[in-house]
Symmetry: C2
Subunit: 183 residues, 2 copies
């Protein structure tokens, strides 16, 4: 399956597309960042994030979208922007009838490195190794988005089937539910 | 000017449209609520909120959108949904090149009742009195949205002109900037 991972953020939204299935080598399809200028007003930054994610979804047509689950941090302002960016990723997914699953940062770290407390450098290094890249994707937000997509593929069948069933039940559109994920 | 107020929420998003200028009687144009079922998955609830707000904006073509500024509450889950709903209202506004301004709950209460600590019943009663309604709009989210729109009109010229300038500078579209607000 092809999964688009989103590491949400108002300034930098990491995006990574990974293709493959559990038990086989995974392939990095594309990786990048949607950036919005800090000087721009908040509403237009949200619009730019929507436009950017919409372009990625249209270009790569993922079968699932994995978004990092946002938690409270020290800075409420940053949580607001981050959760709004996550919400926009979910909104775009729903609009395209693509199943969305949220993964916590520790789930992603554990899936990729074996430890839920791994640091960014360890995650980046393992992402490079898993995908046979010369070096980790940069910036860290991009590497995190790729890690999310890998995590989603590896956490596998059960979670994905549930999300597909939800997407199917709530939209009534079955044409985008990939049959290969249900074998 | 015609202002659309949004009291953001995942379950109930209050919406109210008020028309008028400072120093003259205001008129309630429309009031209602965009609801999403608690049982629906999160992404599709966000999509339903976007669709609902988009319909209101298209139907009433406001010259400004006033959104309640979201603060941290006891329940992080609820803050996430509320700030995502607020983000979607801002996103829709930006898409239509309509200026957005955020007002805090205490700014709204102070503008409407004279006290930043007024309760919901007092706000509802004053909204009814200001707009010459037989009773306050219901539910409270709808009354709060109307109060936001009134607050935005009364807080007046300076703030609105700033938002219009931002909207103009960031979109390059001037056709939706109402000239009457700049006299």
């Amino acid at each position: 399956m092809r999964v688009l991972g989103v590491d949400p953020g108002l300034t930098r939204c990491g995006i990574g597309v990974v293709s493959g299935t559990v038990g086989r080598p995974l392939e990095l399809v594309a990786v990048g960042v949607v950036r919005t200028p800090a000087g721009q007003d908040h509403a237009h930054r949200l619009l730019a994030i929507e436009t950017g994610i919409e372009e990625w979804v249209t270009a790569y047509r993922p079968e699932a979208i994995a978004v990092e689950r946002v938690f409270a941090q020290h800075n409420l302002q940053s949580v607001t922007g981050t959760s709004q960016a996550a919400g926009i990723a979910m909104l775009v997914a729903a609009r395209h009838a693509i199943p969305v699953v949220l993964h916590t940062p520790s789930e992603v770290k554990a899936a990729i490195t074996g430890s839920g407390r791994a640091d960014k450098a360890q995650v980046g290094a393992m992402v490079a190794r898993i995908l046979k890249l010369a070096e980790p994707p940069k910036p860290a937000d991009a590497a995190d988005a790729v890690a999310l997509a890998i995590c989603h593929i590896w956490r596998g069948a059960a979670t994905n089937r549930y999300a597909e069933a939800v997407a199917k039940a709530t939209t009534g559109r079955t044409n985008r539910i990939p049959s290969r994920g249900r074998a």
